[in-house]
Symmetry: C2
Subunit: 208 residues, 2 copies
DNA sequence: TTGCTTTACTAAACAGTGTTTAGTAAATTT
DNA sequence: AAATTTACTAAACACTGTTTAGTAAAGCAA
């Protein structure tokens, strides 16, 4: 019986249509304006229908959050070809900063907003939910481990070093995205330069 | 005529009562649950009254945000007595991290949430609005400048170095507050230790 | 003291939000 | 053909920030 398979296909198709519409609205108008009602109107269904495919708004935004991680993972994978782990580390950093600056809405959802993390709370144990995030972080840890093995950096603990390199780039872009660099009273384009300059200097400081 | 003075006093008293009630609710129940209606009920006035003292919710939360900065400034001022600028830098970092971990709601409002920044947009030019933030950041910049002058760190640019040290500690605590360190799958108390350990290592890396 | 004006406040409405419930019409199975 | 399951929705619930129009009291001038 192909009916049950068609139904399944239709179910995922509908889910995807919702996520697609929500993503478009989110990227264009931001989180606040992307309401369940607006999404429903866009796909020409009633708001209640969305709740047949997603538990709540957080779960829907977790789906978008996940697509963001796929995009970031694809970007960081380009660094794989770089043999020198220190140069690769730098390249991952640049990729991360540029991803954040070019996709501020995605970045916000992935690393700043509370919404997708609320969804993650209930369904821990579910495979293929946090995997993309772990993959990106794993790339960072293994690259730093290579640096340690080759005695290229001072640090001895890859976890600690990963923690603060990630924190540093996240701090840079999140302060930018949430407009906290305004205290520094600098022009937009100079901030952008200084973010990359900061990355240079920190990695340089790490060198053995 | 003392009437106009009494009226002025009553006006600021009322404003303070609103901020006080809002702060208490915010710290206990979080931003989302601190609604204009709930605050109004707590102080036994109608919701519309709050709009006679604050332009909107953002402006009210900017007032709370400002109190947070006063608290942080008071904490960081304790580091002033430390003569060695590098040790002082480290102490400021520890203070910053501990402030964030002990007052996550305040920290969130001060450095992560959009709300207070929206309020800041309209009224630029207003004195005594962003001053506390500038004071805290100024302390960091001048401490780092001292480190450069005394050739204690490799960096030559105090602005850049301030940018990435701030970003690093902000990154650490904001990833913690917004629950992104869950990818690392580590127990709560160990995360806390690693935040301070990260600070140690980064400052060590900065040494000339 | 009376009359006018300003001040301080509020009830009610406006326009939205996420979410749930009860009910319907069509598709599918028996 | 009847029974059941599926997919969907109208309407309601309980909220949210904010505005408008109106009221009662306080302050001031004649």
């Amino acid at each position: 019986m192909g009916i049950v398979e068609r139904k399944e296909r239709e179910k995922t198709e509908m889910r995807d249509r919702i996520v697609e519409a929500a993503t478009l609205m989110f990227l264009e108008d931001g989180y606040e304006k992307t309401s369940i009602r607006n999404i429903a109107e866009k796909i020409e269904y009633s708001p209640a229908t969305i709740y047949l495919y997603f538990k709540d708004k957080d779960e829907l935004f977790f789906a978008i959050h996940n697509i963001g991680f796929q995009l970031l993972l694809k970007e960081t994978e380009k660094s794989h070809k770089i043999k020198n782990p220190l140069k690769r580390l730098h390249d991952i950093g640049v990729t991360y900063i540029e991803f954040a600056l070019n996709n501020p809405e995605y970045y916000d959802l992935m690393f700043i907003m509370r919404s997708p993390m609320n969804a993650l709370k209930e369904k821990h144990g579910d495979e293929q939910c946090w995997t993309y995030g772990e993959a990106v972080f794993g790339t960072l840890v293994s690259t730093i481990q290579e640096c340690i093995d080759q005695k290229l950096i001072k640090s001895k603990d890859a976890t600690i070093a990963s923690m603060y390199t990630w924190s540093m780039v996240h701090g840079l872009v999140s302060l930018k995205i949430r407009e906290r660099f305004k205290v520094m009273d600098l022009p937009e384009d100079q901030i952008r330069k200084m973010l990359l300059q900061s990355l240079d200097e920190v990695i340089n400081n790490m060198k053995a």
